[in-house]
Amino acid sequence: MTRFLINRLLYLVLAIWLLTIFSFCLNWLFPGDVITNMSGIRPLSPNYDMAFQLRGGDSNLFIQYSYYLQNLINFDWGVSLVSQKPVWAEATRTFMATFEILLLGLLLALLTGLPLGALAAARYKSPVDKVIISTAIGGYSIPVFWLAQLLILLFAVKIPWLPITGQIDPLYLIEPKTGSILIDVMLSQSEHKTDALYNALAHMVLPVVVLASLPSMLLLRMMRNTTVEVMQKPYVKAVRARGLSPFRVVTRHAVPNAIQGIIQQLTFIFGLMLANSVIVESIFNWPGIGSWLLKAIIERDYPVIQAALLILVATTLVVNFIFDIYRGWRFPIVREERYGTA
C-alpha cells in the first residue's frame, strides 16, 4: 500500500508540476505584456514597476518561473484585469460555489444511477430492464443545455415552483464569505436563517438536477453492464445454488463486486460534471468557477483565465488521485495487478 501511495503521489506531483509549467507558458501565449498577463497590473499603472520586480521581469526564464511558482504558492495570483480584485479570493469563492453543486449532483447521480442499474441487471432482459435501459440511452443523449431549458420552461414558466437564477434571494442579505451558499447561510447572523436556508435549497434544485442527469444515466448503464457481467461469474452461480434469495444475491454478492469497476469510472464522470458545470452555471447564473471562466474568456481577462484553468485541471487531477487511492486501499486486487503483491 505504501508503495502504491508513493507511486500515485509522485504522479500527482509530476502532473501538477507540468500543469504549472503549462500555465506559466500561457503568459507568453496570450497576447500583450507578459507581466500584465501574470499580475493583472497594466504597464501604465504606478504599481507596475513593483510587480515587474516581484515577478523577476528582467531575469531569464528559469528565474522568472521560480518567481512565478513562489507567487503561486503564496497565493499571490495577481488581480483581475477587469475588476482589479485579487484573483485568489475570487477563485476560492467561485470554486466553493461550484464544488457545492458538484458534490450534491454527484451524490444525486450515485443515489439514482446505481440502484436503478442494479435493478435493471437483476431483471436482465425483462421489460423492466428494457424500459430502464432505453430511458438511459435517451437520457444521456439530451444536451445538458437543452434539458436545462426544458426544466426552466416546465418548472419556472409553466408551473412557477422554482427560482432559476442565482444562489439565493438577495433580500436575505447573506454575505458571501466562503462561497458555498449553505455554509454561508449557516454562518450568517440573519434572523431568518431557516427561511434563507429553504430559499437557498430551492435555488439549488434545478442546477443540481441538471448537473446530475447525465452522470446518473452513465452510471446506470455502467452499473447494469458490470453487474450483468458479474452475475455470470461462477461464484454468483455457486451462491445461487446455495439457495440465497435473488435479492440477496444481487445486493450482497453481485453489487459489491461490480462497484469496483464503477469507482474507476468515477474520475471520468467527475470530469464530465466539471465540464458541464460551465454550461449549467452560465444558464442558472450560478456564481461558480465555470461562469467565472466563461466571463473571463469573453472579456479576455488573462489572469483570471489562467487561474480558472489551473484550478479546474488541478481539481480533476486531485480527484483522480483520491479515487485511485481509495480503489487501491479498498480493493487489493488493483495493487496486485500492478506489483504482483498486495
Partner: protein, 297 residues
C-alpha cells in the same frame, strides 16, 4: 464430393462484416442508421432545400408559431424566430454546422489519432511507456474541458472552436488505437504472422487493422456524438459559431431569453439535436453489443 463451381472459394467474412451481420439484425440500430443516412442526405441537400435565405427577415411575420398551430402559416412551416427569420431554413442550414461540420472534424482527428496510436501500439519501448502514462492523465480531463482550455488560449470564434474540438478529440483516438493494437499484438495469429516473416507495415495494415476496425468504428460514433455535443455547447456559450450564422446550439442560446414567448424556437432545434445524438448513440451502443457478441462466440 464433386464441386460444380470450379472457381468456388470459401468466403471468409472480415471482422467488420461479421459485426455488420449481427448489427443488421437489430431493428432499433438499423432504424437509427437510416435516420442518420436521411439526416446526412438532408444536410448535404440543405442549400437546395431551403425555402428562404436563413438571414432573410419577414417584418410582417415576427415570432410566428409553427404551421400546425392555430396562428400558424403554411408559408413558414416551423414558424419564425423573434427577428422574423424562417425557422425551417435556419434549421436546415444549421445542420451544416451542427452535423456536417462535426463529421468532418471527427474524420480529420481520427486520421491523426489512429496513425499516432498505431505507431505507439507497435513501438514498445520507453516512448510507448511514457506516451501511455501521459495519455492516461490527459484522458481524465474530458474533451469539452480540453476544448475550453484551447478556446481560452485562442479566443472565441468558429475557426478556433473547430481547431479546439479537433485537437481535443485526438487523444481518445490515440488511446483506443494504441490499446487495441497492444491487445491484438499478444494474440497467436499475430505471432504466427511474425514467424512467417511479415514486415511491420504488412502486419499493421493486413493483419491487425482488419481486426481492430470494429473497435475503431465504435470509437468514431462515440467521437461524433461528443463532437456534435461540444460544438453545440460551445456555440451555446457564445464561444463557437457567431451570431447571424444559424447553428442549433446558438439558436438554443438565443431562445433562452424568449422561451416563455416562443417556446417552439427552443423546442425545435433541441429536438433536432436530440434525435441526431440519440441515433448516433443507439448505433454506437448496438455496435458495442455486436462486437461483444462476436468476441463471446
Amino acid at each position: 464430393m464433386a464441386q460444380p463451381d470450379l472457381y468456388y472459394k470459401d468466403n471468409n467474412p472480415s471482422p467488420l462484416q461479421l459485426v455488420w451481420y449481427s448489427f443488421r439484425g437489430r431493428t432499433a440500430a438499423m432504424f437509427a442508421l437510416w435516420v442518420l443516412i436521411a439526416l446526412l442526405a438532408v444536410t448535404l441537400l440543405s442549400p437546395i432545400l431551403i425555402p428562404y435565405s436563413p438571414a432573410q427577415q419577414f417584418s410582417d411575420a415576427i415570432s410566428l408559431p409553427p404551421s400546425w398551430t392555430q396562428q400558424g402559416n403554411i408559408q413558414f412551416m416551423f414558424g419564425t424566430d423573434d427577428l422574423g427569420r424562417d425557422m425551417l431554413s435556419r434549421m436546415l442550414i444549421g445542420s451544416l454546422y451542427s452535423f456536417a461540420l462535426p463529421l468532418t472534424i471527427v474524420i480529420v482527428s481520427s486520421t491523426f489519432g489512429i496513425f499516432i496510436g498505431a505507431l505507439a501500439g507497435v513501438d514498445r519501448n520507453f516512448k510507448y511507456q511514457l506516451l501511455g502514462h501521459v495519455f492516461d492523465r490527459v484522458l481524465t480531463i474530458p474533451s469539452f474541458l480540453l476544448a475550453l482550455v484551447i478556446i481560452a488560449i485562442l479566443g472565441p470564434g468558429l475557426g478556433n472552436a473547430i481547431i479546439a474540438i479537433t485537437l481535443s478529440l485526438i487523444p481518445q483516438f490515440i488511446y483506443v488505437t494504441r490499446n487495441a493494437v497492444h491487445s491484438e499484438w499478444q494474440k497467436d495469429y499475430v505471432t504466427a504472422s511474425r514467424l512467417n516473416g511479415c514486415s511491420d507495415t504488412y502486419l499493421m495494415y493486413r493483419v491487425i487493422l482488419p481486426n481492430i476496425t470494429p473497435a475503431l468504428v465504435m470509437q468514431l460514433t462515440v467521437a461524433l456524438s461528443v463532437a456534435i455535443m461540444d460544438i453545440a455547447a460551445l456555440s451555446f456559450l457564445g464561444l463557437g459559431v457567431q451570431a447571424p450564422t444559424p447553428e442549433w446550439g446558438s439558436m438554443l442560446s438565443r431562445s433562452l431569453d424568449e422561451v416563455y414567448l416562443s417556446p417552439w424556437s427552443m423546442v425545435l432545434p433541441g429536438i433536432a439535436l436530440f434525435i441526431t445524438i440519440t441515433s448516433i448513440n443507439v448505433v454506437g451502443d448496438s455496435l458495442r453489443r455486436s462486437i461483444k457478441q462476436r468476441m463471446d462466440n
